[in-house]
Amino acid sequence: YVYSRPPPWSDTLPTIFVITPTYTRPVQKAELTRLANTFLHVQNLHWVVVEDSPRRTNLVSNLLEKAGLNFTHLNVETPKSLKLGLSWIPSHTPRGTLQRNLGLHWLRDSFSNTSPPEGVVYFADDDNTYSLELFEEMRYTRRVSVWPVAFVGGLRYESPKVSPAGKVVGWKTVFDPNRPFAIDMAGFAISIKLILEKPQASFKLEGVKGGYQETSLLKDLVTMDGLEPKAANCTKVLVWHTRTERPTLVNEGKRGFTDPRVEV
């Protein structure tokens, strides 16, 4: 039983490919559920869900089948050595790199460079919050478009700095504003055409300093003055980098109290 359907697919509207890395933990199903509830409003959205897992799990497979959305379900497991090796601060270990790259690989495999579909790629982590307006802002990206993101870098929001002429000239951040692209994963979208034109461009896996993951991809795709500012010249916040508390499962005990067959 499908409870809701997205708006009918249009042959003339550019497609938004949303790449979401995800991993198993207690809040996973909740996160994917509320994300799906948002995506159901967006026309021509194709959700590429990439599990950090050796196999596609039943939980995610069933959720995607029942959600009613257009989707592709992939998986690739991050080796344990990478998970630990990238940063000595566990909370700053960049997650999702292999998964995002697999999403890009799937796109390059599925579409040919000679007749690329009209559309964009957006990396949407499963715990952020997205307004519907954001998707319409990114839909007509020609190369790479950018906008502010709330709750990153220890600020209410970080934002590209936009000149009166409408060009990105810098970054309004406190944390390392001199990065080539001082922008969060949730703050940009890339046209499919560009992704297919530059098949070597992907997120770097190793030797990436904290905060440079986005740069590791974008530097091979675009320069700062080629960026397209959205959200009213980057004056509106349309996406929030929310994080969900880890639930305290103290009463589960060592061996688990609740029935593991009841999916949560």
Binding site: Y1, Y3, S4, P26, V27, K29, A30, E31, T33, R34, N37, T38, L40, H41, T129, Y130, S131, L132, P148, A150, F151, G153, G154, L155, R156, Y157, S159, K172, V174, F175, T235, K236, V237, W240, T242, R243, T244, E245, P247, T248, L249, V250, N251, E252, F257, T258, V262, E263, V264
Partner: protein
């Protein structure tokens, strides 16, 4: 999906308060609620006046919405004390006021939707057929993966909970819905402050309007988790300057 008779309306009573993540929470909750047919959102701010942020949000939300406000008295804003009592009661009062000239037998179901929880669309389908009071499991609450009513032969016979299973109704705010009819025919049933121990809000409310025997189990005899008690991390604003330095005033 077309039906012959109109669907009973669902009223979602959501208390909300100002903090950095408020607009984000309301945004994603509204994205869910907007998927539900015949849903009316009763949004109650913990505030002395309607805020601009929430007013603007409601105007653009594209949802049938009533925007109320009532401030929590200072003496009740202590850790450990129940929260959102006045706001939920304001939602109940509005519903009662709106139907005051009508007979109590009105179609409709209400439930309490906190602004940081997560709701599946299936939950609304389940609660819509509530005759009096319906119940279901809640994920990620009580220190467990889930809590749920224990059901035998279609009746609630106990509570599977991580905390004080001896409560008359050992259930979380997100775990039940009440028919409008029951609310209207019990005009004095409200969430209490006086004499209400911490964690007893739900129980003290439900015992005014129903009995355990009357409860209607949903979600496949309370074996499916369709709502999760998610909580959002406090936002890190360590790099915000003491005084606003930006040249524009941007709402977050």
């Amino acid at each position: 999906r077309r039906r012959e008779a109109p669907l009973p309306p669902i009223y979602a009573i959501t208390p909300t308060y100002s903090r950095p993540a408020q607009k984000a929470e309301l945004t994603r909750l509204a994205n869910t609620l907007r998927q539900v047919s015949r849903l009316h959102w009763i949004l109650v701010e913990d505030a002395a006046a309607r805020s601009e942020l929430v007013s603007r949000f409601v105007a653009r939300a594209g949802l049938s919405c009533t925007h109320l406000h009532v401030p929590t008295p200072r003496r009740y804003k202590r850790p450990g004390l129940p929260r959102a009592t006045e706001q939920r009661n304001a939602g109940l009062a509005w519903l009662r006021q709106r139907h005051r000239h009508l007979p109590p037998a009105q179609p409709g179901v209400l439930f309490f939707a906190d602004d940081d929880n997560t709701y599946s669309l299936e939950l609304f389908h389940e609660m819509r057929t509530t005759r009096k009071v319906s119940v279901w499991p809640v994920g990620l609450v009580g220190g467990r993966r889930y809590e749920r009513p224990v059901v035998e032969n279609g009746k609630v016979v106990g509570w599977y909970t991580g905390w004080r299973a001896d409560r008359p109704f050992a259930i979380d705010m997100a775990g039940f819905a009440v028919s409008l009819q029951v609310i209207l025919s019990h005009p004095k049933a409200v969430f209490k402050r006086r004499g209400s121990q911490p964690g007893m809000q739900e129980s003290d409310f439900l015992k005014q309007i129903t009995t355990v025997e009357e409860l209607e189990p949903k979600a496949n005899n309370c074996t499916k988790v369709l709502v999760w008690h998610t909580r959002t991390e406090k936002v890190n604003l360590a790099n915000e300057p003491k005084y606003r330095l930006d040249t524009v005033n941007i709402e977050v």
